[in-house]
Amino acid sequence: MLVALGIITLITPIAATSFGAANISFMDVIQVFINKMANLTQANGMTERIVMELRLPRILLAFVAGAGLSLAGSVLQTVTRNPLADPYLFGISSGASFGAVVMLTLFTGSGFFENAGMAANSGIFSGSGALSGLLWFSLPFGAFIGASLSVLIVLALSGLGLNSQVERMLLSGVATSFMFGALTSLLLYFASPQATASVLFWSLGSFAKASWSLLVLPTLVIGASLFIILGMKRQIMALQAGDETAHTLGVNVPKLRLNMLLLCSLITAILVATCGGIGFVGLMIPHTVRMLFPGRQPILLTALVGGLFMVWIDVLARCLLGNQELPVGIITAAIGSMFFLLILRKRRIMA
C-alpha cells in the first residue's frame, strides 16, 4: 500500500500536468521539466507556458489545499474526539460564504442591500467603493474576514475551561454556522441573479485562478502548520485518549485544543479564501487514511493522501466535460462519498 502511494506521488505531478484542454502529452511535460531543470532555452514556448504558468501552479495549489484540508480535518477530529469533525465544523465555511456574499452584493450593486452592506462594512471598506473590478480581490478577502469572524465567535464562547470545552465548541460552531447561513440566504434573496450564481460557483470551489503568486500564502501557512502539528503530535495523540488522560500525561488540554483550533481555522480560512469551499475532503481523507493504514501515526500520510486526492479531483474537474470546468466541490463530494462507502463495505466484509 505504501509503495503504491509512493509511486503515485512520483507520477502525479507529471501525469496531472498532461491533462487539460490544450493537448499536451505526458512526454511533453517531461520535456518541459527537463528543459527547466537544465535551464535550456525552450523549443516550444506555448507548451512550456501552459505547463509552467497555468497547470503547475494549479496542481500545486490543489495539492496544498487537499493537504491542508485533510490535515485540519484530521487534527480537529482528534482534538474534539468527534469523528464527524471537519475543517468547516466551526462555521468557517458559512462565515466565509457570508463574507463573500457581502462582497459580491456590494460590488455587483444589487440595489437595496448595497447600502446596508456598505453600512455594515463601512469601517473596513470605506473608499473601496462599488468598483466591480475589485471583486476578484475582495471576494477572497471578504471570505477570510467572514471565516475569522465565525472562529472568533466560537472561540469567545468555548473558553479556556476544562469542563465541557468540546461540547461548547461544537454547539457554538453549529449555531454560528446557522446564523451566517441565514444571513447569507437573506442577502442572496435580495441579490441579483448573477451575484447568486457567482456565489454558488465560488462556494463549490475551483483552482482555476491559481498562479504562482496566489500559491505563496497557502503554502507558507500550511507548511508552517504541518511543522507545528508534527511537533505537537504526541500531545495530539494523547488527546485521543480523553481530556483527563491527556491531562495526566502532562498536556495542557484547553490550551492545546484552543491552539489547534486556531491553527486549523487559519488553514481553512486561507484555503476558503483562495479556492472556495471544498467540502468533504477534510472529513473523508483522515478516515480513509485511518482505514487504509491502520495503526500508524497518520499526520504526514493524511496530508499526502489529501493532496494527491485533490490533484486528481482537479484533473477530473478539468476533463470530465469536454469544454467546461466542473466545480471541484461537486466532484469531491460525489467521488468522496462513493469511495467512502466502498471502503466501509470492504472493511465490513474483511471484518
Partner: protein, 297 residues
C-alpha cells in the same frame, strides 16, 4: 489467555516483610477541602503516604474518593489545602514535570479512535519527550518490558479496542509503567474485572515497588493488598491506618450501612469481612442479622 505470564515477584507473605514506612514521605496532604457550587465535596483531608507503600482508598459511592484522587492529580483544584509530592508543592510543578512524577490509571477510559496496544503504552512517554523527539531504541525496550510485565507482549500489535476488560486495564498499567512515575494513582482499577484479574492487577501494581494510591470498592481486596487504608465518608476522613485498625465491624456498619463480621484471614492474617444479607425486608431482617451476628460472635 496467558495469565501466568504476569510476573508477580511478590507474594502475599512478602508484604509483611517489605520495608514498611521508610522514613521519607511520598505524598503529604494537609487540610484539603474542595467545594463546588456551594457544596462541600471534600473537607479537611489530612494524610501522608510513605514512599513505596500502597494506600487503599475506601468508602461508599459518592464519598469523594474520585474527587480526592482528582485533586491529587490536579485535574480539579482544591479550594483549600496543600498537597506535597516529595517535598514539592504540586501547584508549582509544570504539567510536564508533574506528569513525569505521577501516573494515573483512570476508572473509565473513553473510546479510542484507532490505537494499537503498543501505541497506547508508548503514550506514557509523552511527558518525557520534547517537540520533535522520536522514540529511541531504549524507549522501545522500555515499552516492550512494560508490556511483558503486564503479560501483554503477544497483544502489542492488536487494536486496544479489541482487548478484553482485564487486558485493557493491564495495558493502561503498562502505560503508567512507561511513564516511570514516583507515584501511581489508580481510580478503581479492579472495576469490571473478575476475581482473578482483581487480585492480579493489584499484585502487579504492588510488585512495581513505587508509591501507590488506589481506590478500591472490595474491602477484602483492600485489606489483603494494601499497606494502609484511608476510609472516606461524606467527604471526610473517617479512619486511616493499617487494614486491621480501619476495618472494624462498627465502622463498616456506620459508614457502609451493612452488617458485617470481621475475622482474621487464614493466609495473610489481616481482616476478613463477611457480610450479612437480607436488607430488603425493612428493619426486621436487619435486626435478625444483628442478633445472628451477636450469637455468632
Amino acid at each position: 489467555m496467558k495469565l501466568s505470564a504476569i510476573q508477580t515477584s511478590h507474594t502475599l507473605n512478602d508484604s509483611d516483610t517489605r520495608p514498611s514506612a521508610s522514613q521519607t514521605v511520598a505524598l503529604d496532604v494537609s487540610q484539603l477541602s474542595w467545594c463546588i457550587d456551594g457544596k462541600t465535596i471534600l473537607s479537611n483531608i489530612n494524610f501522608a503516604l510513605p514512599t513505596g507503600q500502597m494506600l487503599g482508598l475506601i468508602g461508599p459511592n459518592g464519598a469523594g474518593k474520585s474527587s480526592l484522587l482528582r485533586c491529587l492529580y490536579r485535574f480539579v483544584r482544591p479550594t483549600q489545602g496543600k498537597i506535597t509530592l516529595f517535598d514539592h508543592d504540586i501547584e508549582r510543578l509544570s504539567p510536564k514535570a508533574f506528569a513525569c512524577r505521577v501516573a494515573v490509571v483512570q476508572q473509565d477510559t473513553p473510546h479510542y479512535f484507532d490505537l494499537t496496544t503498543e501505541q497506547l503504552v508508548s503514550m506514557g512517554l509523552t511527558p518525557h519527550k520534547g517537540m520533535f523527539d522520536t522514540n529511541s531504541s531504549c524507549d522501545g525496550e522500555r515499552i516492550a518490558k512494560a508490556l511483558e510485565k503486564v503479560g501483554l507482549s503477544h497483544k502489542m500489535h492488536q487494536q486496544y479496542e479489541h482487548l478484553s476488560g482485564g487486558e485493557k486495564q493491564r495495558a493502561l498499567i503498562a502505560r503508567a509503567i512507561v511513564q516511570q512515575p514516583q507515584l501511581l494513582i489508580l481510580d478503581e482499577p479492579t472495576n469490571h474485572l473478575d476475581v482473578r484479574y482483581q487480585i492480579q492487577i493489584l499484585e502487579l501494581v504492588r510488585s512495581l515497588g513505587i508509591s501507590v494510591i488506589a481506590s478500591i470498592h472490595d474491602l477484602n481486596l483492600a485489606s489483603a493488598l494494601c499497606d494502609s487504608l484511608l476510609l472516606i465518608h461524606n467527604g471526610e476522613v473517617s479512619a486511616m491506618g493499617t487494614p486491621t485498625e480501619v476495618l472494624t465491624e462498627g465502622r463498616i456498619g456506620d459508614v457502609f450501612g451493612v452488617c458485617a463480621q470481621v475475622s482474621t484471614h487464614p493466609q495473610h492474617k489481616k481482616p476478613l469481612i463477611s457480610y450479612f444479607y437480607g436488607y430488603h425486608d425493612s428493619t426486621h431482617s436487619m435486626a435478625d442479622a444483628l442478633t445472628e451476628r451477636g450469637e455468632g460472635g
